[in-house]
């Protein structure tokens, strides 16, 4: 049935479009498609009744095929207003005719909303053309006027610059009373590309504005709007078209160089920062990660300590190799074999820039490692434990065998009980001097030892570590005591007495008592010197070209090795050094760190180099002595401490 109705509607449509006067505006079907027109299409009929403002309405008629009725006044319009209970309402004639348009206008007085109107056409002869379906209520025939004052604004442009959004706004039709809510309108926007024929519709909105998204630039668009009453079906006419065309957008270009400049600027800044970082890498590393000072023993290569080359280390410590005190006047101590010398050769020192790799050279120099020349040449020069071309400060030479013994004894006394072979000493001595140390020891130290002939070698109570307690500016290193050394020294002592004035008169005393091994460094930066206040102590001062006059400066190294009196038969030994002696600071003894604790007296004082029991010490510090077992190592262990308890 729906098909037949649609077919009939189609026929009607065809019929209507074939007529000329159907081109009048606002013409539409009075009846919707679901109603069958009882009248034949050719008869006079109403084409449409429309209200624009829900307060008035108009009806148009057509004579159909009855052309004889087409003249004005041939047909008359009658209407019936069905209101109230009674159906006695009568047909009334159209209140206002407009024959030119074949229109019947009902003004506000004749218009009632929610009331059924039925329209009728009558001829002069009272022939009635009436259709029951031509009845309506005014609110159902309302077709509002189109909106006016269309306008648009650009909302947003896409980043690509190819599309944009606009906002269209308009005004409601002036004829519609929307202000007092008499009519509530809904609007529908349609737009299209001007070149196409298909219109795009947007959703109905009750507001007087709407956004259209996604329009393309350089395309002209046409926009029109129509409206209808809310919850009703009939639309009004479309408004006048609004044409929109957006050409190329300039904003895009202006942003492009800005972006480019920004990118390049950032890249340049980054590169500059990188260059700065790379060029100042070391400085930055110093600032950010300052090097942690590592403990160093001047003159000793930490590599040796690391790698555990104890033999070499012992050799170094014992004064073999390059380092060594400058030879003192051996003539002074020729009679005293227990005097040993450490010679420092100032000429060989290489005062290059100082790194750790110079340590070994300093060590050798410090300890006076005997050179192969010294061992092999059977010259009378006992100071052969020196650099090959070092003759400075050497007054005389010793017996050929003495140097060996001296060196050996020195090493023996210095080392914690490790007998040194001649070969090892030779090896050490043969070693080429490494690069000079960093300004600490300018001169290679020559160690010359003069040991007591035939003296038993005892390596007991020798310190493994000989702390450098002072450095003489002349290049000598003052070592803290190794107890077993016996170094003869008379002239050097006296000489050094002149150089190291504040040092006390112990040096003057020529005794067979323990001595001090002095390794003087002309350039040394050490701060303190070993105290030597023993009467019997001797001092071996480096035979530098220019022995520093006056008191030992803070930059002097003095290695003072105090021999162990127990191994010798000397008398008047005051072997131990009291750290808190009233002596001036230049001979301050750092004995406590590296000194072997020999005995503990009754007063619970640790005796570092206690005098032998048989001879009471004539020195100032006098303490009761106790026999102690031999301490092969320099540090006291807890179990050994028990032996110290009085």
């Amino acid at each position: 049935m729906a098909v037949s109705s649609s077919l009939s509607n189609l026929l009607l449509l065809v019929l209507m479009t074939s007529l000329d006067w159907l081109s009048t505006p606002g013409s539409a079907f009075l009846l919707d498609r679901h109603h069958i027109h009882s009248l034949a299409p050719s008869e006079p009929h109403f084409t449409e009744c429309v209200s624009r403002d829900q307060a008035t309405f108009r009806c148009w008629w057509s004579p159909g095929n009855f052309h004889n009725l087409s003249y004005p006044g041939a047909l008359r319009v009658f209407y019936l207003k069905k209101e109230g209970i009674s159906h006695t309402s009568e047909w009334k004639e159209c209140p206002e005719y407009n024959y030119s348009d074949r229109e019947c206008f009902f003004d506000a007085n004749h218009t009632s909303i929610w009331t059924r109107y039925c329209m009728q056409l009558r001829t002069q002869n009272n022939v009635t053309y009436y259709d029951d379906d031509d009845c309506f209520t005014v609110e159902n025939i309302v077709r509002p006027d189109p909106p006016v004052s269309l306008n648009w604004t650009l909302l947003k442009i896409s980043p690509s610059g190819q599309s944009y959004d606009i906002k269209v706004n308009w005004e409601p039709p002036p004829s519609a009373d929307v202000k007092s809510y008499w009519m509530r309108l809904e609007y529908e926007i349609q737009y299209r590309d001007k070149n196409t024929t298909h219109w795009e519709s947007l959703a109905m909105v009750p507001q007087t504005q709407q956004t259209i998204y996604g329009l393309d630039i350089e395309k002209e668009y046409e926009v029109h709007i129509r409206c209808r009453m809310h919850a009703f079906t009939k639309f009004g006419q479309f408004s006048d078209s609004l044409f929109i065309l957006v050409t190329e957008i300039p904003n895009k270009e202006s942003t492009f160089p800005i972006t480019l400049v920004f990118v390049f600027g950032v890249t340049g800044v980054v590169i500059v920062i990188l260059l700065i970082v790379v060029s100042q890498q070391h400085r930055l590393m110093m600032i950010l990660l300052p090097p942690v000072p590592v403990p160093k023993i001047k003159g000793i290569d930490p590599e040796m300590l690391k790698k555990g080359k104890l033999d070499e280390l012992n050799f170094f410590l014992s004064g073999g190799g390059m380092g060594g005190l400058p030879t003192y006047a051996p003539d002074y101590y020729q009679d005293e074999p227990w005097v040993e010398f450490i010679e420092v050769d100032a000429e060989d020192a290489e005062a290059g820039e100082k790194e750790e790799n110079n340590q070994s050279s300093d060590t050798q120099r410090l300890l006076g490692l005997p050179q192969p020349v010294s061992h092999h040449t059977n010259t009378g020069c006992s100071n052969a434990i020196s650099f090959p071309d070092d003759d400075s400060g050497r007054a005389s030479c010793y017996d050929p065998d003495l140097p060996d013994q001296d060196a050996l004894l020195l090493m023996a006394t210095l080392l914690p009980g490790q007998p040194e072979d001649r070969e090892s000493t030779l090896d050490v001595a043969d070693r080429a001097p490494p690069a000079p140390e960093r300004g600490l020891l300018e001169n290679p130290l020559l160690v010359q030892t003069q040991s007591q002939s035939g003296g038993p070698r005892t390596w007991v109570n020798t310190d493994f570590y000989a702390q450098v307690s002072n450095v003489m500016p002349s290049g000598g290193v003052v070592l803290s005591p190794g107890q077993q050394l016996r170094i003869q020294e008379e002239e050097e002592e006296k000489k050094k007495k002149g150089n190291n004035g504040p040092r006390d008169t112990e040096a003057k005393k020529q005794q067979e008592l323990p001595f001090q091994l002095l390794v003087v460094d002309p350039e040394g930066s050490g701060g303190y010197t070993t105290e030597s206040y023993n009467n019997a102590q001797r001092q071996i001062i480096s035979s530098t070209p220019s022995p520093p006059p006056g008191s030992p400066r803070p930059g002097e190294y003095q290695t003072i090795v105090q021999p162990q009196p127990a191994s010798s038969t000397e008398e008047n030994q005051c072997p131990y050094i009291v750290p808190d002696s009233p002596q001036p600071a230049q001979f301050f003894a750092p004995v406590a760190d590296y000194t072997v604790v020999q005995e503990v007296n009754s007063q619970h004082s640790l005796l570092l180099n206690p005098p032998p029991r048989h001879s009471p010490p004539p020195c100032l510090p006098q303490h009761a002595l106790k026999a102690l077992p031999a301490m092969p190592i320099g540090y006291i262990t807890p179990d050994l401490l028990e032996n110290f308890s009085p």
């Binding site: 109603h35 039925c118 029951d132 009845c135």
Partner: protein, 227 residues
């Protein structure tokens, strides 16, 4: 842990929502969010719009399924004809706010029962043209009409309190609203679907009336608005 947070958030939201949508206070406490008359009008007008929209949808849906041969439009008779309603804007404005309010209330009250019957009739209808979607819509319409009736009554009370409305607006019941004989489905021997169509047609018209009257009333009572 997340569950606890979720629960906390839910509780908070519930409380917040409750505060945001506070019901009308019966006792007029100070902290109560009492909607103003303008708010009431807005709510009621919104509701009436929705009612009219629904009625229009249902009616057009019915019209789609109608047999084209049906020609009883001219003889349609709505049972609300007993209520005199202004049929023009000027008439409505001339009527006065009290009478207008009364007309509105009468209409709403009168339509309560028929709509309920409509729904019941539609749900029982075996006509294939009537689907459940339509019957649900009829139920929705019935509910809306009831709500709107209550809302307009409350609004009238408030207006009386405020003094903008006289006391001539009486209490309206279903019996008094329609002076004439009530329309009943059982009395008609016609096909139910046609009755439904008539009822929907009439209701569509009356819902439009209610919607329009309410708007006119708002403009009359709240003159500061741009009417």
């Amino acid at each position: 842990m997340t569950k606890v947070w979720f629960a906390v958030i839910l509780v908070y939201l519930k409380l917040w929502m409750r505060v945001g949508t506070a019901p009308i206070c019966a006792y007029g406490e100070a902290e109560c969010h009492v909607p103003s008359l303008a708010d009431l009008f807005d709510r009621v007008i919104q509701q009436s719009s929705r009612m009219h929209g629904l009625s229009n949808d249902l009616h057009s849906e019915f019209e789609k399924h109608l047999f084209p041969s049906r020609i009883l439009i001219g003889k349609r008779k709505c049972h609300m004809y007993g209520i005199v309603t202004p049929d023009d804007k000027e008439n409505a404005q001339r009527l006065g706010r009290e009478q207008l309010t009364e007309v509105i209330l009468r209409l709403l009250v009168a339509w309560g029962k028929p709509l309920t019957q409509l729904y019941q009739s539609m749900s029982q209808d075996q006509n294939p043209d009537v689907n459940h979607y339509s019957s649900n819509k009829a139920l929705e319409i019935s509910d809306i009409v009831h709500e709107l009736r209550d809302g307009v009554a409350k609004m009238a009370e408030k207006m009386k309190l405020l003094g903008v409305l006289g006391n001539t607006v009486g209490y309206i019941t279903a019996e008094t609203s329609v002076p004439s004989s009530a329309f009943s489905f059982e009395k008609q021997g016609e096909h139910h679907s046609m009755d439904h169509h008539d009822v929907l047609y009439c209701f569509r018209r009356d819902s439009n009336k209610v919607k329009t009257y309410l708007r006119i009333l708002k403009c009359t009572i709240l003159p500061e608005l741009d009417c």
